[in-house]
Amino acid sequence: MEALDGNAIGGLLHEVFGAEMTTAMGVCADCGAAGPVAELVVYLQAPGTIVRCRSCSSILMVMVDVRGTRCIDLRGLAELESDS
C-alpha cells in the first residue's frame, strides 16, 4: 500500500473541520514532531483513512465511515492548530 501525504486529504479535512487544514500544524502526541498536515504520511486505501507521523510513524488520525457516520479519531495528535 502506497503512502501519500496530507495534500491528498485536503477535501476530506475541509469537510470534517470546515476549514482548509493542510497548512495546519500537527504535533505528534508520541514523539513531539511538529509539521504541517500536508507533510504527514497518509494511507487512503486502508479501511478508512490513516494519517501517520513522518518522524515516528505513530498513528495521528483515523477517519472511517461506518454505516453513514463519519468517525474521527485524533488521539494521536497532541495539538492541531489551524491559522485559517
Binding site: L4, G11, A38, E39
Partner: protein, 221 residues
C-alpha cells in the same frame, strides 16, 4: 491523457497548485471521489488534466465518456500548502515526476499571467518524450524560465537532455544553489518525491523551503 475545462458559475477563484475533487455517483448511489490538481492559472477557466487508468473508477469516465455540456459534481478549491503566490520573490525550483507536472504548470502559467519575473528552473522527469505533458507549451521560450527534461526509459536518437533517473547528482547540477534562497515545489509519485526532497535537503535546502505533494502509483508507473 485529457485536459478538461469546466465552466463553474460560482467558482470562488483558486491559487496555483490547488486541487479540486471530482465526485461521481452511480445510479445505485455508489460514490467515487478523486482529487485532481488544477492545471490552469488563477483567473483562467478551471481545467484539470486526467490520465486514464485502466483499473480506475473515475478516470475512464472523465477521459472517455464525459462530453461537452455534461454537468459534473466538483468540490474545491482545496489545499493551501502546495501553492505558489507571485508575492514570493524567491527563485523557483519546480521538480515534476510524470503527471506531477500538472500543478507546476499552473504555477508557470500564473507566473507569466501575473507578470512575475522570478527566475524558474523546471526539472521534469518522464519515462518517454511521448509521455511529456504540455510539451509544446513548455518548449515555448519564456524569459527567466529554464526547462530541463530527463527521460528515464527511452530517448529519441538526437536527445540532448538528461537520460537518467533524478538523483542527488542530477539535482546538484540542475537545482539553484542552496544559498540562493530558492523555494522548491516537488510533485510526483511517492518514491520520486522522497528521493528529490531528501536530495534537496542534502544540498542544503531548509526543509520548509521544499514543498512536496505525492500522488498514488498510476498505470504502469
Amino acid at each position: 491523457m485529457r485536459t478538461i475545462v469546466f465552466d463553474i458559475p460560482a467558482w470562488p477563484g483558486h491559487r496555483a497548485g490547488q486541487h479540486l475533487d471530482v465526485r461521481l455517483t452511480a445510479e445505485d448511489g455508489y460514490r467515487a471521489e478523486r482529487e485532481y490538481s488544477i492545471a490552469s492559472a488563477p483567473g483562467e477557466p478551471v481545467a484539470i488534466t486526467v490520465e486514464r487508468l485502466d483499473d480506475g473508477e473515475v478516470s475512464p469516465y472523465l477521459t472517455e465518456e464525459l462530453r461537452q455540456g455534461d454537468e459534473i459534481e466538483l468540490r474545491g478549491p482545496i489545499g493551501g500548502y502546495f501553492v505558489w503566490d507571485p508575492e514570493d520573490e524567491s527563485p523557483l525550483l519546480l521538480v515534476a515526476g510524470g503527471s506531477g507536472i500538472v500543478p507546476l504548470r499552473a504555477m508557470l502559467r500564473h507566473r507569466r499571467g501575473s507578470g512575475s519575473e522570478v527566475p524558474v528552473r523546471l526539472l521534469y522527469s518522464s519515462r518517454t518524450l511521448a509521455e511529456v505533458i504540455y510539451r509544446a507549451e513548455l518548449d515555448e521560450p519564456v524569459d527567466g524560465v529554464e526547462v530541463v527534461y530527463t527521460l528515464t526509459r527511452e530517448q529519441p536518437p538526437d536527445w540532448s537532455g538528461y537520460a537518467r533517473r533524478v538523483d542527488d547528482e542530477l539535482l546538484g547540477e540542475v537545482a539553484w544553489p542552496a544559498g540562493e534562497g530558492a523555494l522548491a515545489f516537488v510533485c510526483g509519485p511517492t518514491s520520486f518525491v522522497e528521493t528529490v526532497a531528501s536530495g534537496l535537503v542534502e544540498l542544503g535546502y531548509p526543509p520548509p523551503r521544499v514543498k512536496t505533494e505525492r500522488f498514488g502509483a498510476t498505470g504502469g508507473r
